[in-house]
Symmetry: C2
Subunit: 432 residues, 2 copies
Amino acid sequence: MKKFNTSPISGMQELLPDMQVVFNRLKDKIATTFYRHGFQNIETPTIERTAVLLAKAGGDTEKQIYKVMKTAETGSGAEQALRFDHTVPLSRYVVEHLNDLTFPFRVSQIGRNFRGERTQKGRFREFYQCDIDVIGWGELPIFYDAEVISTLVSALKQLPLPNQFYVRISNRKLLNGLLAELNLETHSTAILGIIDHAEKVSASVTLSALQSLGIGEVDIDKVVNFMNLSGSRQEIIPQLRDLGFTNVDYQTGLDELDQVLAMVEAAHPDQLIFADMKIVRGLDYYTGTVFETNVKDCGWLGSICSGGRYDDLASNYTDSHLPGVGGSIGLTRLFDALRDCGAVHASEIKPVDICLIPLDKTCYDQAISLAAKLRREGKSVDLVLTNKKLGDKIKYASKIAQSMAVLGEDEIKAKTYKLRDLKTGAEQIEHF
Amino acid sequence: MKKFNTSPISGMQELLPDMQVVFNRLKDKIATTFYRHGFQNIETPTIERTAVLLAKAGGDTEKQIYKVMKTAETGSGAEQALRFDHTVPLSRYVVEHLNDLTFPFRVSQIGRNFRGERTQKGRFREFYQCDIDVIGWGELPIFYDAEVISTLVSALKQLPLPNQFYVRISNRKLLNGLLAELNLETHSTAILGIIDHAEKVSASVTLSALQSLGIGEVDIDKVVNFMNLSGSRQEIIPQLRDLGFTNVDYQTGLDELDQVLAMVEAAHPDQLIFADMKIVRGLDYYTGTVFETNVKDCGWLGSICSGGRYDDLASNYTDSHLPGVGGSIGLTRLFDALRDCGAVHASEIKPVDICLIPLDKTCYDQAISLAAKLRREGKSVDLVLTNKKLGDKIKYASKIAQSMAVLGEDEIKAKTYKLRDLKTGAEQIEHF
């Protein structure tokens, strides 16, 4: 009988071993993809000085941060907190180790981050994020934006998604250019918010939100017309050009978007890659390319992978100009959603390859040597050493192993044993 | 120029990418060994309710715990803290998921734990521990103690230790039996502490500590004689038997120790396995087998792997009797020490297999396709897309990659390219 509340804290994912295997495999696939694309793995501490974490952040982030303190602490010393993403610690890391890194620095981070959010379905307080970033020193060509997106697409292709996924890409410079051309820069934060929100509400709600800013109808039409553009590179780039905006921001954004789309398409000709002007990535620190990824007919899943270009992330920590581009897969949330919709389920593959069941203690030495031999060959081997009846041991084996062998005096004398497949019942003679 | 303190918080290990590769490889080797020995991996949340963490602990642990709180929190709700080891969360996990697990439950955990210790060389506030445990339901035969130790020995054999290592094993029941026989049970905590401390002080300090308890000289001789026993199974088991203590605890401890030593020796005939009565593992929750592991002539390293048998770990959470045996490798501390003594160093193996350098933008498409092909073959490939001079790009490649290829118009026409080994300079013709 339980005497204590032993449930994990709400908002923290805790898996049974058979699900943990599946989770670990997905995580490994992502890690391998990042590695093959030349990204170097690093790990930063879980705990940072609060001042580092909040140097740029604020608002919701500050409210969601987990502060940490030692019980015995007297209150002196710098305040500390749990990291809420990988990007802020990365910028600290890059500045700290500037002279020891090779630029452009292709870096991957796979680990747990923390946000004290109100718990609800699909929101986690502790969650794995799988990030890649490329950080330049001084400059970083637009082609790296495509490399980051292509790498993430390669990683997502490894995952058992319930349907095809599509990547939607935009460039913040286009919107900035448009707003400059229409002299709407004073409204830029508000308009950014309205566009970011547009997919969650009806067109008329978006329209009234724009009208409430006191902008003229002609300009509203131009903004709405712009934000509704979405489609393939071949369709959208000419349309964006035909809008006739001529300022440098807009033209640069157009060129960059064109190049990013072209390169990602070249790397993934079989993949759905769109331009979509509704993608702005909220009020985040992005300055150029922005992207989101969705699964077809799974609106409930939300964006499963997103990111973009940030041109001055480490400016709070250093005078060096360190432009970067990065993206992230929110693995904990994604895994939870995949499990809910049946796209991942406890593996049919049992965690253990072979259960060895010595009949009695006189057989233990031989069983131990055989286990050692099979393990050297790379097999996962469980030795069953309980005092239970043989029937119970076989029941145990069939729960956790692919195959089993009972080792008694006869087997040891003959130096052979029967390896039984626990699914098919097929038996095979093997040598000690 | 730095404008901010960007060093990691003291007591937190932060590695450069070339060292991170080495660390990750050691961690993977340990994980693979655990897997091959039939241990199922789980991960529990980093944050637990403080009441769960402190249900059994106290003293130093309570002082070292990191409390966590959300900034916006009003003070209501249960107190939360960062886990300080894997054992306490494991006992919560086992009780919570009792009906979904198969017993004996062989479980591995590899992750970061937290203690707000005073920072000093070799002490970390955030550290990786690699744990295995076997949890029985109702009973758990002594043979699993040997399985746990054998598995940890197999894992340690994978690590680049500066010298041979040796395992020292004892059993707390021996000491308990001895103290019962001598009617010294009221002093048992004090004597335990003195023996635990004996290796750090001279024999005379240990003697006066025992004398200060007011025990008779004859009994002190017996305790000192007992605690000084150490050696191989063949040497020590007869000596322990000859001491002539007859109570059940002592006899059980003797049998258990004999069986554990025999099984670990059988699994690792090439390994130094000792009995050593000075091993008690402090005031921890161990009730039977206890063990520590040291590296020869590296006293400064301390114990690199330790653990033991605990017979009622989850008794605070449940009425079910869940005996267990486990052990742990403190990887962060060990890695730091191995680095200090030169046993591990930044890998000669560069993080990237191949750097592809397209000569100009007209070659990007072909370079991207080639990168995709090589990555599908399992290679780690970096595409160099900077605007720098060719010389700078080659310099970049030679810092991070094993080999490189420059791709220009000629190569693309000929559909071949030269793959240059960046160490030897040797060139090889490859096809697109």
